[in-house]
């Protein structure tokens, strides 16, 4: 999974019916120290994440294993809101 920060929302009225009611958030990958990394991904929110929160994003077909994303065209899902990252070294 990737640590990321929520930087935006995508609104789409015309979409695949299986995405109805799903919140689509733009997430920018961040490193362990919270610094921005390159790129972004649009992920389906499963945990009521909000702007600027650090989240966990799972990508690929694994995203569909998240509850709420089964049998939906989802290749990235937010599956956690990060409270803390602890480092041992």
């Amino acid at each position: 999974m990737q640590l990321a920060r929520v930087i935006g929302t995508v609104v789409a009225t015309r979409k695949d019916a299986r995405l109805e009611g799903k919140k689509l958030l733009i997430c920018r990958p961040v490193d362990v120290d919270g610094g921005d990394e390159a790129g972004y991904v649009v992920a389906v929110d499963t945990v009521s994440a909000g702007y600027r929160e650090t989240v966990l994003v799972v990508q690929g077909s694994s995203a569909r294993m998240s509850s709420g994303c089964e049998d939906r065209p989802v290749d990235a899902a937010i599956v956690g809101i990060v409270d803390a990252v602890s480092r041992d070294s």
Binding site: V6, G8, T9, V10, R14, L19, L24, A63
Partner: protein, 101 residues
Amino acid sequence: MILGRVVGTVVATRKHASHEGRKVLTVQPIGPDGAASGDPVLALDGGPGVDAGMGDRVLVVQEGWSAATTVGPEGTPVDAAIVGVIDAIELAALEEGAATA
């Protein structure tokens, strides 16, 4: 999913039967700010509920099962499909409030 803009259409008479009746579109990936990034990809349109066209900003799903079932039955040979036409991209402003792109 990634964001993109439809920049072209592709016409193919001879194609896999599962692609019949679907638009083949050239999509330029864009960043959240709308700027082009990377090389264009080909994606199939998601069908009547989506109906993307030239100039539309779109959502592209790039995972096998998701793309296939957006277009047709499981096993359809497609690796990118348009699952939504974007109305708005709202970005969190760095300091306060939210901006709309």
